[in-house]
Symmetry: none
DNA sequence: CCGCCTATCTATAACAA
DNA sequence: TTTGTTATAGATAGGCG
């Protein structure tokens, strides 16, 4: 009889431990077998005794290798989904934080000093000018090859958007929006700052964004 | 109560089977845990339900991979090779994708028609103007609360940047850079387009980016 | 899904042969 | 060592929330 509640603690007596191992192993395998049959599941049990003896159980009509192969395939997916869950959770927290903060675009931009702002502004203008000029120059010079390349590019982007794995990256877009804010105007802009990872700021936590940080503009619909 | 001797026979009722699976799985794992502690053994249980959901048990201070590796050694079954091949194949595809994406900025921008370009340009200017005006108005009106909020925001961003899990997202930065291009000028810009996910384009594959797409500007150092 | 409950059934620790 | 016995703790089906 079980004399008193069994302490789940290593059995120190070598013989008793060996006997218990054998009996409980059989019990475990029996349970596993019942489970396979009752619930139509596939089970693999691999165990090594303290003396490194191998014992294994495998459900009928299956092989251990099959189970392990499947495990490898599926566990990767699980890793991804766990990762995805963590991202979603953090995203949720960020959204909540932002909601509480009710932070507006202007409050971010206020951290830019006026000179940096003008500098950034000017560079944006230059970019547009340059692009506009390039466009005019090459208006009809686009050759078929370029258009094909473009189509390929768009196609690749779509693949990324559709591939669940790339979804994690593309949902980065959702992350971007986490820190995005609407402002007045016919259209909404979202703006956020990244610390420029090429930089090392000794006083990282207190560093105010500057024009040398990476700045992301999202022109939203 | 166990109504009569349990027949070790597949439970046909879907719901009952699922419930029993869950309960017995917990029981099995508990037994396995007791066995590992009582008898100082290492146990790995891998199981798939009839709906192919994966559940696993692994004894403390062990990993499933260790057990499988050891199993492989003892039983002489090669279980990891398929996995490695799969990883390599994925890697190869990613590299190929990146190579294809090695396009230049102009080829993207050329898809914007001149009107969209001007429209975008104008909106950027409006944003800057609005921010600049607001800045002047509120120059010294920033209160401490706002600054705290700003610090919190920056802190959140840093957490994101430092969290290894977000490495995948931040490596999205690498993905972004796949579509980023340097152009002439004192500073480099990176520009990329996202399909605006709020839109549905019937002719998706051939849709040229327009100002209504989300457009991301990275002002690089 | 998860937990609680209870009547039964099962597993097993300690002991015995 | 193995096998059998037995008292008791544990497991669990089905019901309910």
């Amino acid at each position: 009889m079980a004399r008193g509640k069994i302490q789940i603690k290593r059995i120190e007596n070598q013989t008793n431990r060996q006997v218990t191992y054998s009996k409980r192993r059989n019990g475990l395998f029996k349970k596993a077998h019942e489970l396979t049959v009752l619930c139509d599941a596939r089970v693999s049990i691999i165990m090594f005794s303290s003396s490194n003896k191998l014992h294994e159980f495998i459900s009928p009509n299956t092989t251990t290798k099959e189970i392990i192969d499947l495990y490898q395939t599926v566990s990767d997916v699980d890793v991804w989904s766990a990762h995805y869950e963590r991202m979603q959770e953090t995203k949720r927290k960020l959204l909540e934080t932002n909601r509480k903060l009710g932070l507006r675009l202007s409050e971010c931009l206020d951290e830019l000093d006026i000179q940096e702002l003008r500098s950034l502004e000017e560079e944006m203008e230059n970019t547009f000018k340059l692009v506009r000029e390039r466009k005019i120059e090459t208006t009809k010079k686009k050759n078929k090859s370029q258009q094909d390349i473009q189509k390929n590019l768009i196609h690749e982007l779509e693949l990324r958007a559709e591939d669940p794995h790339y979804g994690l990256v593309d949902n980065g877009g959702d992350y971007d929006s986490v820190l995005g804010y609407q402002i007045e105007g016919s259209r909404a802009y979202a703006l956020r700052y990244h610390q420029n990872q090429h930089h090392h700021y000794p006083n990282h936590a207190l560093h105010a964004p500057s024009a040398s940080d990476i700045i992301t503009f999202h022109l939203l619909e």
